[in-house]
Symmetry: C2
Subunit: 221 residues, 2 copies
């Protein structure tokens, strides 16, 4: 089977690609530049594709003009520090990001006759991000099938294998597949090392601790 | 109310913008460059925004790499001539185009606190394009609400007012709003004048004839 894996270069989506190696004969890794504050993470997505010996595509979503006010794309908005599930983390929402990415990935799936598009959303994202919840993934898969009927392969679907897993569960799974954690990037800031203080750094540290796995990440604090 | 109108510069979406003038206090016209064979039509979308005195945004969808094989984006594929509803017109399908456009428009709607996104798909598109059918629009609207829950305005929706109208009905409606037909572009080729032979030119001529409205378009044949 053929599959498209959406990969940001973070630990979730890199684990997703690694864990699908056996299942997908022909994998393509697809990453997005949507005007992130930094695009450092994309280098890690490319590394994953190289390590897995699969093609890597980078798509540009020219939506900066729409995304005023998100800390991930607007340099005037500070990256909030603290725990990932706090209200302040709403500043890190890029409106409708997953729907945009899945729509483009579905177009690629039609063009390449792929059976599925995979996305690495997980349960820890549910509190803040509506487009990471199971009901969104289910509806999006149905809608994409309707949108491409007669053009996509008959059983085409959008799949989020981690949607009910915690990030610690993902670390556990990644260990089984020897994911090179140091070759993944989480931090919302794009400095030399992970900052250790933004929501996603806090979540990264916590996931390794909960999973009881040694964290090889270098943090500034 | 605030609304985003997706407009290609064609007669359907320009009529859509004109017909919504009274309904929408703050309209934004949104057009897409998705690597069309020609981008001539975009000039007509900008004209519509200027004529209606509303802001115009142009978003780039960098999906050329995905769209191999569509006559609309791949210069190696001939633009088919003949009637719009024929099987040969499938060559003009850009995979998942409406889902991609609506996803980006929804992001803009969230960011601008708009109440709705409008798209000008109509009944004549149903035979060929799955993402122009009523069930797609309904599902897409539901999915976009779920994807943006807590961020979009509470009653946000995606609306396709022409989804059950023919193109001749749209000409009729456009006459009521004094749509300047000569300032709209349909032809899939991007020459000086409308070619008069491609599917969308044939459909354009037919719509004026059926509506009994004088067609001001200059055709090469």
């Amino acid at each position: 089977m053929k599959g498209i894996v959406i990969c940001s270069g973070g630990m979730d989506s890199v684990t997703l690609a690694y864990s699908l190696q056996d299942k997908i004969d022909a994998m393509t890794i697809l990453s997005f530049n949507y005007g992130q504050r930094h695009s450092k993470e994309l280098r890690f997505a490319e590394d994953a594709a190289r390590d897995l010996k699969v093609p890597w595509h980078l798509a540009h979503l020219d939506v900066n003009q729409f995304l005023e006010g998100s800390a991930l794309t607007d340099a005037r908005v500070a990256v909030p520090e603290g725990h990932y599930e706090e209200e302040s983390m709403k500043a890190t929402v890029v409106p409708n990001r997953n729907m945009m990415m899945l729509s483009v990935a579905t177009a690629l799936a039609v063009s390449s006759k792929s059976d599925a598009v995979y996305i690495g959303v997980h349960a820890g994202d549910h509190a803040i991000y509506p487009d990471c919840r199971p009901e969104f993934v289910t509806m999006m898969s149905k809608t994409a099938k309707i949108a491409t009927q007669g053009f996509s392969v008959p059983d085409f679907e959008i799949v989020a294998p981690f949607v009910n897993m915690s990030k610690a569960d993902i670390v556990d799974l990644g260990e089984d597949y020897n994911v090179p954690w140091a070759r993944t990037w989480s931090c919302y800031k794009g400095d030399m090392w992970h900052c250790g203080k933004c929501g996603t750094c806090v979540e990264r540290k916590e996931a390794f601790a909960l999973a009881g796995v040694d964290d090889p990440t270098i943090y500034s604090v």
